[in-house]
């Protein structure tokens, strides 16, 4: 008797082809500007939003800068040309009148957020997280405003902040990321339509986690949101951002700016779980995520910590950075970037040490599957006056399958001899022997891979707020779900 059997083989590539769960579109009437960007469009935007004169000038200046700029090409990215005149720069869900309470929000939109697991109505909210929900170009609702107001914390959409706290906005907007900082920052500064604003007064520890949830719904609209967080002396805040988008075969543009300002002894923790639609398995569609995020420490011992879990987007181009101006201030960057199919990520950080005894830490974990490209790009700069500055960087890449790329571009610019700068990098592949070990103990393939990967990312996940660490673990598992051959 002769039996010939094929044994189970590890079909890694098939493990990752998991449909995007958030790819639905909300059937909603939207009110949008004509496509394209001109000074008239900007003026229309400003008058629509009844903006003060300083902001109109801010936009105009940024627009004039932007017109003279070119899209950067230094990233390790292949970007098909973007026709900026084919985009809609303002798209809002159509509404009859001013929204005063949640009951007046279009039920379709509430349903959308519900489907995304973000409950906005009082009963179902996360008990210790305040959420600002942004749908296309506008903020739909902000929860727990009153509770926050009691402790003096301002948390609202940036449009509201412009109306109600114009002097704060005027004082800080564009101080960390100037309107001409880079191509996408200039574009955002010209056309940003909404976003979140947080102000934590002195000696205040923000009683809730603050969170913004971004949703792009409209097919041709770009989302340009702007977040501004100010933490006064001795204050603390933890902030989380989440994002999804429907599944379209066209690419959508998301060009955001986040500015963080930390005064003396203040601590800002900013976490992102990004799950924009990343395109299909052939690389069609998906979000272009071109984001400028930067924090500035202007008081001594201030600390800014970025944590990001990047799993979506067709192209990710983002470098959450810290300008460590004040002495003894601290910058941290923890990142997990997972790319699959034809996704491309060029992400990392800049730690610019200007003050003395400033310290920074960078932990970056890149995971590439399919035909994706995943690059870490990081700059550590130690200025001439930054005596005894310290940096530690660790960049680990993990390759799954044989068609993906991982690269690391660490840049060092050190102008002070007392600096101590360390850099460690590893590239590893999923080990068939580790998988076999887990399989032998009865753990199925998909779960085995996801355990290996979340183990790989453990250092970063532990930096996320508790409930989001679990979310991130789940998200990673979800991204890896699929059929095993």
């Amino acid at each position: 008797m002769t039996e010939i059997k094929n044994q189970t083989t590890f079909e890694l590539t098939q493990v990752f082809n998991q449909p995007y769960k958030y790819g639905f579109q909300t059937p909603i009437e939207s009110e949008a500007f004509p496509k394209g960007l001109t000074e008239e469009i900007l003026a229309l935007l400003s008058s629509k939003k009844e903006e003060p004169i300083f902001l109109r000038q801010f936009r105009l200046k940024a627009y004039q800068r932007w017109k003279k700029m070119k899209m950067p090409s230094w990233g390790n990215l292949e970007i098909s040309p973007i026709d900026f005149n084919a985009l809609t720069y303002y798209s809002i869900p159509k509404k009859k009148k001013q929204l005063n309470s949640l009951e007046e929000v279009d039920p379709e939109i509430l349903k959308t957020f519900e489907k995304l697991g973000i409950a906005l109505d009082e009963q179902k909210r996360l008990s210790n997280v305040a959420v600002d929900a942004v749908f296309d170009s506008v903020s739909i609702a902000t929860t727990y405003k009153e509770k926050l107001a009691k402790s003096g914390v301002i948390f609202c959409s940036i449009s509201e902040a412009i109306q109600h706290y114009p002097s704060l906005v005027q004082r800080f907007l564009g101080t960390v990321v100037s309107p001409g900082d880079n191509f996408f920052a200039a574009l955002n500064s010209a056309v940003f339509s909404d976003g979140s604003f947080c102000y934590i007064p002195q000696n205040t520890i923000c009683p809730l986690e603050l969170s913004t949830y971004f949703r792009i719904n409209d097919k041709d609209a770009g989302q340009f949101e702007r977040t501004l967080i100010i933490a006064e002396k001795n204050s603390q805040i933890s902030y989380l951002e989440g994002c999804t988008a429907p599944q379209y075969s066209e690419n959508q543009l998301h060009a955001a700016i986040v500015e963080l300002i930390a005064f003396e002894n203040a601590k800002i923790t900013y976490s992102t779980v990004q799950n924009w639609y990343g395109g299909d398995e052939k690389g069609k569609g998906g979000i272009y995520n071109f984001v400028t995020k930067r924090g500035l420490t202007i008081g001594k011992r201030a600390s800014i910590s970025w944590t990001q879990v990047e799993t979506g987007s067709a192209i990710t181009w983002k470098y959450p950075s810290c300008i460590l101006l004040a002495k003894e201030s601290v910058g941290e960057f923890y990142s997990v970037a997972l790319t699959n199919n034809y996704q491309q990520a060029d992400t990392g950080t800049k730690m610019v040490h200007l003050g003395e005894r400033t310290t920074s830490k960078i932990i970056s974990k890149g995971i590439s599957c399919g035909f994706s490209k995943n690059a870490y790009r990081g700059l550590v700069k130690i200025g001439a006056n930054a005596i005894f500055a310290r940096n530690f960087s660790q960049c680990d890449s993990f390759l799954l399958g044989s068609s993906s790329y991982a690269s690391t571009y660490p840049y060092l610019d050190i102008r002070n001899p007392t600096a101590i700068v360390e850099h460690e990098a590893t590239i590893s592949k999923v080990s068939e022997e580790q998988l076999f070990y887990l399989l032998q103990r009865g753990i199925p393939m998909e779960q085995a891979i996801s355990l290996l990967l979340s183990g790989f990312c453990r250092d970063v996940f532990t930096m996320l707020p508790m409930e989001f660490a679990m979310e991130a673990d789940k998200l990673l598992a979800l991204k890896l779900e699929g059929t095993v051959g």
Binding site: M1, K5, Q7, Q440, Q447, R458
Partner: protein
């Protein structure tokens, strides 16, 4: 007659087109202890990996029946659930995964397979405590990452802990003695014999005659060039110690 738990017939297996197992036969009945010895490269470890379903090995011909099922039809994790346990010669390190989570997930996967309710992380603590005590392992062991930074002895003890937890029907010990000193080997062997259920069968791959003294096997097999060339009792070990593997050479056809 005792019931066979494992029956291997006419098995040919290869890796990267190199034939390792050549018309291999072996039968193991319930609660029997078999020792498999043989020079390096004779195919002992290949056999253990083929049994556990390592994907790098191809089967050209033959059959393996494990508890009345065609083993070759079963995915590696199903083989595990059905009661096949391989204690690794070199247990793998899994960075970032705690031993506790690893053991709990493995335990729950098996329960799921047998339609039993999963246990919560809290309940699992009770489950695992019993085994820790049996093996005299400190609780701190659970909170370290799987095998990461473990000494050779700790890794092997962790294998035995997993074995007790999963209550297998057939245990394959692949050179569990490698990298251990003589005292550690005794501890491991005692740990196995004292704690294993009496119905469990053992297939012990070793180079080390001392293991055989501890384990008191029912059968000793000498393997060479991909097949068993001699089967006997503990007496075979004496011949081996005196005359070496070459003394069995003439049996090769």
């Amino acid at each position: 007659m005792k019931k066979n738990i494992l029956t291997i017939r006419n098995l040919d297996a290869s890796i990267e087109k190199k034939k390792i197992l050549n018309d291999f036969h072996l039968e193991i009945a319930q609660s029997e202890i078999h020792v498999l010895m043989g020079p390096n490269g004779s195919g002992k470890s290949t056999l253990s990996k083929v049994l556990a379903g390592h994907p790098a090995y191809q089967i050209q011909k033959g059959s393996i029946v494990f508890q009345n099922q065609n083993l070759l039809d079963l995915a590696p994790e199903i083989r595990s659930h059905e009661g096949l346990f391989l204690a690794f010669q070199y247990p793998l390190e899994i960075p970032g995964l705690t031993n506790y989570d690893f053991l709990r997930i493995a335990f729950n996967e098996k329960r799921k397979y047998w339609n039993l309710p999963e246990v919560t992380p809290l309940e699992f603590m009770e489950v695992i405590q019993t085994f820790l005590q049996q093996l005299k392992i400190k609780e701190e062991f659970l909170h370290r990452n799987v095998n990461e930074g473990f000494s050779g002895g700790e890794k092997k003890r962790n294998e035995i802990l997993q074995m007790l937890l999963l209550q297998p029907k057939l245990v394959i010990l692949d050179e569990i003695d490698s990298g251990l000193d003589i005292d550690a080997i005794k501890i491991i062997c005692d740990g196995i014999l004292e704690n294993i259920s009496p119905e469990t069968s053992l297939l012990v791959i070793t180079h080390y005659p001392k293991m055989i003294t501890y384990l008191k096997p029912d059968f000793v097999h000498i393997m060479r060039e991909g097949k068993i060339i001699q089967t006997g009792n503990v007496g075979l070990v004496e011949q081996l110690e005196n005359f070496g593997y070459d003394s069995f050479c003439e049996k090769l056809s």
